[in-house]
């Protein structure tokens, strides 16, 4: 009997631990109730729900911080949840926002298509939805979408490389791809492939490696691709979150050289993280296309406030800008990255 009671108690403890862990998983830095964090100066009486996919890169960390700051500055309360890239969890968290009666919801979706049903529920409840960085799939009515011009930004990067390459240069390219369910990853992949197709004499695609936004897959992919073709001299990296793994891979291969040095592998990356900008200043990375996460975060909150106030909707596509070894110490001397 005593044993049974002990077992029962321990079983309850195990389940409690699991619940605790799940709260931790969905939790933000605040560590509050189900990851929600409320600004203290929320005197407008309005609340914005922020549903984040995950904070897996510096870009998302900056995005999140910018939204928090914008809410605080506007005196609006916010409640936040982080889905750890679990689409079902994100749908559930959005439904929780609906039942909490928030006035607007900002969604940074893990998967734009998978979140459509939750957005439809927001539509039914009359709660305006603002999409952050990733567009929603078809069938969802959103108040505004704040995103980056992924395709064009990548195309400009390739154009930069093409225009600055010495005559007769031939690039054998390794293309890394993010999560295949991420519209941004697909847009960057399409942008890259369309861009190199414009310079058929200069670029040749040697390998495409799926990474699921995971560093270990990026590292293995780089090493495998070089084992297959040691002449690869160009890597397209779709997110700065993968950059340290790529750098590690190149260092292990003895191919991490500066721009202009023998054996330099041209490195084109995306996002604008601090370590990418530093690597550009040091001369190891050629160019990064920067999405203005600070501005996008602010615009998301502004759009949510406009929606609450019944103002007109306006989408915003961040054109981005490129920081390269050429302009990092002149035009963008003050830009440190995220």
């Amino acid at each position: 009997m005593k044993n049974k009671a002990v077992r029962r108690t321990l079983s309850i403890l195990a389940v409690s631990a699991m619940m605790l862990g799940m709260v931790g998983c969905s939790g933000g830095s605040s560590g509050g109730d189900d990851a929600s964090k409320e600004s203290g100066s929320g005197d407008s009486g309005k609340t914005i729900g922020i549903s984040m996919c995950a904070i897996e890169s510096q870009m998302w960390a900056e995005y999140q911080e910018s939204m928090h700051k914008a809410c605080d500055d506007a005196g609006v309360k916010y409640t936040e949840s982080i889905a750890e890239n679990d689409v079902q969890k994100q749908n559930q968290q959005i439904e929780d926002f609906i039942s909490q009666g928030v006035d607007a919801i900002i969604i940074a979706p893990a998967d734009g298509d998978a979140v459509v049903s939750a957005i439809q529920k927001c539509n039914d409840a009359g709660i305006p939805v603002i999409m952050a960085n990733r567009a929603a799939g078809e069938g969802a009515e959103v108040f505004a979408t704040i995103s980056s011009d992924n395709k064009e930004m990548v195309k400009r990067e390739i154009q930069y490389v093409a225009e600055n390459a010495p005559e007769g240069t031939k690039y054998k390219c390794l293309e890394l791809v993010g999560s295949l369910t991420d519209v941004n990853a697909i847009a960057r992949q399409e942008g890259f492939e369309e861009a190199i197709a414009e310079y058929p004499d200069m670029f040749e695609l040697a390998a495409t490696v799926p990474t699921e936004w995971k560093g270990d897959l990026a590292l293995t992919g780089v090493q495998n691709a070089f084992a297959s073709d040691d002449d690869i001299n160009f890597i397209f990296n779709p997110s700065d979150a993968l950059l340290p793994s790529i750098q590690s891979g190149l260092q292990q291969l003895g191919k991490y050289e500066k721009v202009g040095e023998d054996g330099h592998v041209t490195l084109v990356t995306f996002d604008g993280a601090a370590d990418a900008v530093t690597a550009i200043r040091e001369g190891y990375v050629d160019v990064v296309s920067v999405q203005d996460a600070t501005e996008q975060g602010k615009l998301c909150v502004q759009a949510a406030l406009d929606a609450i106030d019944g103002k007109e909707a306006s989408d915003y596509t961040d054109p981005g800008f490129e920081v390269s070894t050429e302009n990092c110490d002149t035009e963008y001397a003050d830009f440190e990255g995220y």
């Binding site: 321990l10 750890e84 799926p210 560093g215 270990d216 090493q223 297959s228």
Partner: protein, 327 residues
């Protein structure tokens, strides 16, 4: 009468085919794939590429060795990936904030993994909760704690880790030696010690093992503890290799580790498995296919398809064997 005579021979041939397929089918498919890759890309069949595949296999291979212990006692450890994440975070914290030697960081990561393994072992062996639920709970807790400690940010490791990532002996990465060393020790423990035999006995029939005087709960507890410690070391090794820990570090690796173990001959039903060569074959098979597909310039979508097919066949074979056709 003739018909009656013929029937058993047809059944016998069918059974023989299933027998052969279950024993060698996966290896046959693997060899065909290897030949295909080698014909398409001559580089594939080179010593340097083989060493690269071995190195790529080493990190998760260590976790596979640990998983063998748990599978042998008819358990399962879902928490292995988040154990890797949490332990790597602990190891990296020790490295970055205390600037202690790398070996101490590995010890810290190993101890952290061991603790998670002990929690798993305690609830499975002593409290008798289903392993799937217990390890799912520790998966969540370890992930939550890791994210909490890192504030959901990337953790960059001190540049000294690159020395280890780049270190080679006779042109072979030290990762490979660490992996093979662990495989050899595990092989010795499983085949030449009393504890090893007890693990198999518990996996085959826990009640019977208890009646024979084996301390079943203690044996099962130790299996989970070993699995946890090895996952911790694997996590730290992976962090050194990448020089960074992302919030999605090791996510989904539990499937790779469990499926590699099954491909390598461990059974989800317990009581079976040879770490040497099983743990090596299992993970190398998966890494070799990824390597071959990259070399072929295959579509990004093909990776998951191939991996899925291989895992499906391995689990199917395991189920057929368990259903009594071969056992």
């Amino acid at each position: 009468m003739e018909k009656a005579k013929k029937q058993p021979s047809t059944v016998g041939a069918g059974k023989k085919f299933v027998d052969l397929f279950c024993t060698y089918g996966l290896y046959f498919i693997f060899i065909v794939l290897i030949i295909f890759f080698a014909v398409q890309r001559p580089n594939f069949f080179s010593v340097s590429n083989f060493l690269l595949i071995l190195k790529s296999s080493s990190v998760l291979g260590i976790a596979v060795v640990g998983m063998f212990f748990v599978l042998i006692v008819a358990g399962i450890d879902i928490s292995v990936s988040m154990n890797m994440y949490f332990s790597a975070v602990i190891g990296a914290t020790v490295l970055n904030s205390m600037e202690l030697p790398l070996i101490v960081c590995f010890l810290a990561a190993g101890v952290s993994g061991l603790l998670i393994g002990c929690i798993n072992g305690f609830f499975v062996a002593k409290v008798k909760i289903v392993p799937f639920i217990v390890t799912l709970a520790t998966y969540s807790v370890a992930k939550g704690l890791g994210l909490f400690f890192t504030n959901q940010q990337m953790v960059f490791l001190n540049s000294s880790v690159m020395t280890l990532a780049n270190a080679k002996v006779f042109g072979i990465s030290v990762f490979v030696f660490i992996f093979l060393g662990i495989v050899l020790i595990a092989h010795f423990v499983l085949t030449s010690t009393q504890f090893g035999r007890q693990l198999f006995a518990c996996g085959n029939n826990l009640v019977g093992a208890n009646k024979m005087g084996i301390n079943g709960p203690r044996t099962v507890f130790l299996a989970y503890a070993i699995c946890g410690a090895l996952a911790g070391i694997a996590g730290m090794l992976s962090a050194c290799n990448l020089s960074v820990i992302n919030p999605n570090f090791a996510q989904g690796d539990e499937f790779v580790v469990i499926s590699s173990s099954v491909i390598g001959g461990a059974s989800l039903f317990g009581g079976k498995g040879k770490v040497l060569p099983g743990a090596i074959i299992g993970i190398v098979m998966i890494q070799a296919i990824i390597n071959g597909l990259t070399m072929m310039g295959a579509s990004a979508y093909s990776y998951t398809i191939f991996r899925g097919i291989i895992i499906f066949i391995a689990v199917m074979v395991d189920s057929i064997k368990f259903s009594g056709e071969i056992r």
